[in-house]
Symmetry: D2
Subunit: 345 residues, 4 copies
C-alpha cells in the first residue's frame, strides 16, 4: 500500500502513519519527494485496511497495490476454472448456451421451450420460479411448483437447470430441485446469501449488479469462494446508464476485462440487459465474439402473452436463427459449443 | 395508457392491440394521425401491463399515463405523512437529525457519541450491528450485542434508535431492540424483505439503491405500504456515477423531486454518499436547505480508529459545528428541528 | 403529441392548452379519463415544441409521439445508406476497417502502419493531425504536416483517409487533405461545426459523445443532413460510466439500436472506448458480430513510445491476428469486408 | 509516480521501466515486495506521461502522485481567487447571484427581467445570444442583436453581464459586448476555444461538461490559466445519470470537492441541471448552503411562452421568493451576498 501525504503534512502526521504501519506488522518505507512525502507499507497488505489510513490527519490519498480479492484472482489461480454440470462444461474453451423462459408459467410452456432450445443447441434450461418484480402488483412466480416443472422437464430433455434463489429462506428448497443456483443482480451484494451459497455443493451463477464495478463483482464472488464453494459462474447483465432506449447498458468489455482478472468463467445475459427482443440476437453474437463462456437467452413460445418480460423474450424460431449464427462465431474464437444433441462443427 | 403503432403497422396489428385492451376490460380509442396510429386505453390502467403491449407486433412504444405506485403517491394522499417515533416527529415541517457511529463497536464508543450528539441537537441514535461489507475479510458487526448496546444507550439518552436489518432471518431479533428498522441501499429491491417489513409495526427507513430511479424507490416503498405498514421514511444516499473522488454522487434534487411525487418523508445520508469527512458538513447543510425531513450523520469519537467507514465519520466536535449551522438553516426553510434537550431557536 | 394534465388541473388550464394547440394549427383531442384528462394534438407535430407545453400550468407531462429527427430516421429513408469513398463502401452489407495511429508522428511511423494494416485487410487509413488533449501540456499533433503525410501515404497504399476536424477554423485546411472528416466525441454537440460540415461535399464520421443518448446522436447527425450533406457515418466510442478499469463503457447495443432507428451506417471505435490494448481485439470482434458497418482500430509500430494513447494501440502483428478472426465473423453475419488487396475468404 | 509491475513481470521488463525513468531525468526507486515489484519515480513528475508507462510490457498499473493540473490547484495558490467584475466580487466569502432569461428574446423581456432580478438581489445579468440547441429546427438565438440588448440593459441597471461564446469565430464579437464570457458544458473540452479564452482579458465562466470529472474540469481550467488568463469561475450544472425525471443529476458535492482542490471560485446552475422549475429553488438554496460562490438562475417574465427552456425558468415573483430564503442562508454559511441595490440583511 502506498500512502501519499498532503503537501503541508506535518512530520508528526507522517510519524503517526509510520507508527500505525509498524503496529500492524508491516515495514514502512518513507520517501521525501520534491512535492510530497510518500510512505510505502511493505509486507502482507491484507493486514491493512486502506480506509483506516485514508481517514488519518495529513493523508492525501491511499493507493492499495493488491486487489482486495484473492481466491477469485488470476494471481491465485492462473488456469481457467471449468465448471462441470452433468455433461456440460462451462469455462476455458467451453461455451454453454442457457435458454428458457423468464418465468416458468406452465408445463406446456416449459416443455415447448425446452424441446425447441435443446434442438437448436442450448445446453442448459433456465426458468424463474421466484421472480423479483419491481411492482408488488406483478406476477411473482409459481414457487415450488415452478421448481418441480423445471427439474422434471430439464430431466426429460437432458438439460441441467438454472434458477434464481431470491431469499436465503428458500435455499433448502431450491437446492433440492436445481443444478445451478442463480444470484440475481439485485442480490449481488446480499452478503449473507452469498456466504450461505459458499457452503453448498452446487455451482452458483452470480450476476453483476447494475451499479457494481468489476472489483465489486469479484469481491462478491470471493464471499462464495471463501466459504469453500469454488464453482462460480460470473454473469454480465447490463449496468445502469443514461441511455433509456435500452433497459440497461450491456458492458460487453466486462467479458475480457473479467477474464484478465479472474480464472472464473464469465457469461452474458443479453435479454435482461437490453430488454428488447430486436437487440438480443446481435448482443448474444457479440458476447460470443468477445469470448463469453456462457450466454443466457430468454425464450418463450408466445412472448406477447408472457407473464413477465415479454418484450425481451425470443420465439423458438428466432432462437434457432440465433444459434445458426452463434455456432460458427464460437468456432472462430476457439470455443467448443456444448450441446445436448450432436457436436456443432 | 397510450400505445403508439409503428408507421408501417398493419390494420390486423392495430386490431390485435384493440382486442387485447377490450379483453382486459378497458375501452380502446383509436386515432389515425398523419404519421402514426395511436391507441388510447381508457379505464383502470392498473389492469394493463405495459410490457405485455410493448412486445406485440407493430407496436412502436407504450406510454403509461399513471405511475405504477399508488399508496405512496401524492394523488392517493395529498397531505404529508409525519412519522412519530417516541417524542420525535419526522415529516411535514419536522426535521430530525439521526447521528451515531457507522458500527457499534463498544459501550464506551456508543455512549460518548450518544451524549455528544444529543447535546448538539440530534434526535435519534443510529449504529450498525450487522454490517454489509464489500469484502468477506472485513469487520461484520457485533450482532445482537450491538443491538443491545444501541437499545440501552438510546434509552439512557432518550434517543429512539435506528439500525439496519440485513437479512430477513434477523428480523425477529432486530424488532425486539430497535425503534426504526433500516433497509440498506443494497437491499432496496430485496422484495421479500420489504414485504416482511410491511407486516410489522415499526417505522422503516428505506434507502435508495445506488442504481435506483425515483420511481423504483417509490415502488419499493409500495411493497411495504401494500402490506399494511404505512410508516416509511425514504432516504437518498448517493447514486452511482462516473466521478471517483466521491464514493457516490449525492442526488440532492431527489429531495424535492420525491416530495412532489409522494407524501412520505424524505431524508438524506451525506456520510455514505460522499465517503469523505470534509464533504459531509456542506452536504448536510445543503440537504436541509433542499427541504429534507431527516439527515443521517455518522459520528465516531476517534474516526481514525473506527472499524468501518472511518474516513467519512465526523468527530463529536465537528458534529457540533455542523449543528450550529444546520439549526438556523432549518429555520429559514421552515423546518422545526426535533431535539431531545431544548428547542433550537 | 400527448399532453397529460395533473389530476387536479382546472378546466381553464385544459382550455389554455387546447387553445395553444389550435393557435399552432393542430387539432386538439380531449379525453377525460377516470384519473386524468389527456389532450392529443393531431397534425404536424414538428410545429409544436414539447417544452413550451411542459411549462404550462396544470400540465403533468408531455409525451411526443414522433422523434425530433427526420432526415436521419428510417421512416424518412427505409433503405440503408451506403457511403462510397474511393473504392470503399460503408453501410448496408459492407464493412470497412479503419486503421492507423492515434497521432501522425512521422513519415516512417505512418508508412509502416499503412503498409501493415492494408496488407492485413484494412480499407481506410486514420491518423490525428490536431489532437484534443485533456492536458494543455500534452502533445497536440503535427498540424498541417500531419495532414500532408496522411494524404500522401494514404495515396501510396490506395487507402482513403480519415482525420479529425477539431475547430471550424481548420475546416478549409482539412478538406484539402482528407477523404472523410471526423467529428470527435467532444464536438458531437458543437452545432456550428456540424452545420459547417453539412455544407461540404465529403463524408463525415460523427462520433457519439460520452454523455449523449442515441436520440441526441441522431439529432447531431440531423444538423449535418439538414444542411444538405447526406453522407454521415455514426460511431459508438464508449459512454461515461462508473466502471474505472476501462476508460469508457463501450455501448455495443448502440449498433443494432441505431440501425433500427436510422438508415445511416454505424461504426465502432473499441480503442478509445476501452483505452486498453488487451480489450481492443475482443471488442472489435464483438462489434462486427453485433453488425457494425465500420471498425476503427488504432495501430502503432511501437505503442510503448507513442506520443498519445500508447496503452490502447495495437502492434501491426496484433492487428493482423485481429483481422484473421474478424474476417470470418464478418462473413457469418453477412458483411462484405472491404479490402484494398484481395478478397478475404 | 508509482509503477506497479505484474506479479510475473520479468527482470528485463523492470529494467526497461527503470531505464525510461532515468532517460526522462528522474530517479527510479525499486522496491521488491512479497507479491509485486514497485517502482517509484522521484523528481518532477510532470516530465512523465503516465500513459507511456501504462503501455509498457509487464506493467500492471501506473499511479500518478501529483494532479495533472498545476495553476488551478490549491498547492499552487492556497488563497481563494476572488474575481472582480465591475462592483461585484465572486469567490472567497463573496457570493453573487446571476439571473436572466435563457435566451434574450426582446428588449422588453430583458428589461423586465433585469429590473425584477436586480431589485430582488441579483448582481449579474445573464442571457443567451447564441444558443446551442439539440435540434437544428429550434430557435438559435438573436445573435449580435441579443448581445447589444444585453449590454445596454445590463448597463441601465448597473449589472455586469454574462453570455456564452459558442464558437471561436464569435469571440471578437462577444468580447465587445459582455463582461463575463461563458463556456457552455458542451464546449468544456473545446480545447482550442479554451486556449483562445486564455489570451483575453475578461473573466471566464467555465461550465462542467455532463460527463466530465472534477479533474477534467480542472484540466480545462488549466488550459485557460496556462495561457495567462487567471480569472476563471467554475460552474457545476449537472452530470449525466440514469434518473430521467430530471434533465441531469446536479452534483452539489462538486462545490466543496472543487473548493478543496482549487483556489478558483465555484458556482452552480440549478436551472439547466434540473430542467424543472419546481426544483430550481430548493437546489439554489442547497447550492448556497453547500458553499457556492455564485448561483445562476434563469428568469423569464412569461416562462410558458419562452422560446427556449420554458419549463425551467422562474417567474420574477418566484425569483423574489427564492432570494428571500437565499439571503439568510448565505449569511449562516458566511457568504456576503453581492447586490446592486442595498445590503440584504
Amino acid at each position: 500500500m502506498i500512502i501519499v501525504m498532503q503537501s503541508k503534512a506535518a512530520k508528526a502526521q507522517v510519524d503517526e502513519v509510520v507508527g500505525r504501519i509498524k503496529d500492524l506488522g508491516l515495514k514502512p518505507h518513507v520517501s521525501h519527494g520534491e512535492f510530497r512525502t510518500i510512505i510505502g507499507a511493505i509486507g502482507d497488505e491484507s493486514l491493512l485496511r486502506p480506509e483506516s489510513f485514508a481517514g488519518m490527519a495529513g493523508v492525501e490519498k491511499v493507493m492499495p497495490i493488491m486487489k482486495s480479492y484473492k481466491l477469485a484472482s488470476r494471481d491465485f489461480n492462473a488456469a481457467d476454472t471449468v465448471l462441470e454440470v452433468g455433461p456440460v462444461r462451462i469455462g476455458g474453451d467451453c461455451l454453454a448456451v442457457v435458454a428458457g423462459p423468464c418465468s416458468v408459467e406452465s408445463e406446456r410452456q416449459l416443455r415447448d421451450v425446452a424441446r425447441a432450445t435443446r434442438d437448436a443447441g442450448a445446453a442448459l434450461l433456465r426458468g424463474g420460479a421466484f421472480k423479483p418484480r419491481t411492482s408488488p402488483y406483478s406476477f411473482q412466480g409459481l414457487g415450488e411448483e415452478g421448481l418441480r416443472l423445471l427439474r422434471d422437464i430439464g430431466g426429460e430433455f437432458g438439460m441441467p437447470t438454472v434458477t434464481e434463489v431470491l431469499d436465503p429462506r428458500d435455499l433448502d428448497l431450491v437446492i433440492r430441485y436445481a443444478d445451478i443456483l442463480q444470484v440475481g443482480a439485485r442480490n449481488m451484494q446480499n452478503f449473507r446469501l452469498l456466504a450461505d451459497l459458499g457452503r453448498i455443493d452446487k455451482p452458483i451463477l452470480l450476476k453483476r449488479g447494475p451499479a457494481a464495478t468489476i472489483d465489486e463483482l469479484l469481491m462478491s464472488a470471493e464471499y462464495i469462494l471463501s466459504e469453500g464453494n469454488h464453482r462460480v459462474l460470473l454473469c454480465e447483465r447490463g449496468v445502469c446508464g443514461f441511455e433509456k432506449s435500452t433497459r440497461y447498458t450491456l458492458d460487453l468489455s466486462a467479458v475480457p476485462n473479467l477474464q484478465a482478472a479472474t480464472h472464473l468463467p464469465v457469461g452474458v445475459d443479453p435479454s435482461h440487459a437490453t430488454g428488447r427482443r430486436d437487440l438480443v440476437t446481435p448482443m448474444a453474437l457479440a458476447a460470443v465474439a468477445a469470448g463469453a463462456h456462457a450466454v443466457m437467452i430468454e425464450v418463450h413460445p408466445d412472448p406477447e402473452r408472457a407473464l413477465s418480460d415479454g418484450p425481451q423474450q425470443l420465439t423458438p424460431k428466432a432462437f434457432q436463427h440465433l444459434m445458426a449464427e452463434l455456432a460458427p462465431i464460437a468456432q472462430v474464437v476457439g470455443r467448443k459449443l456444448q450441446t445436448q444433441v450432436k457436436p456443432n462443427t
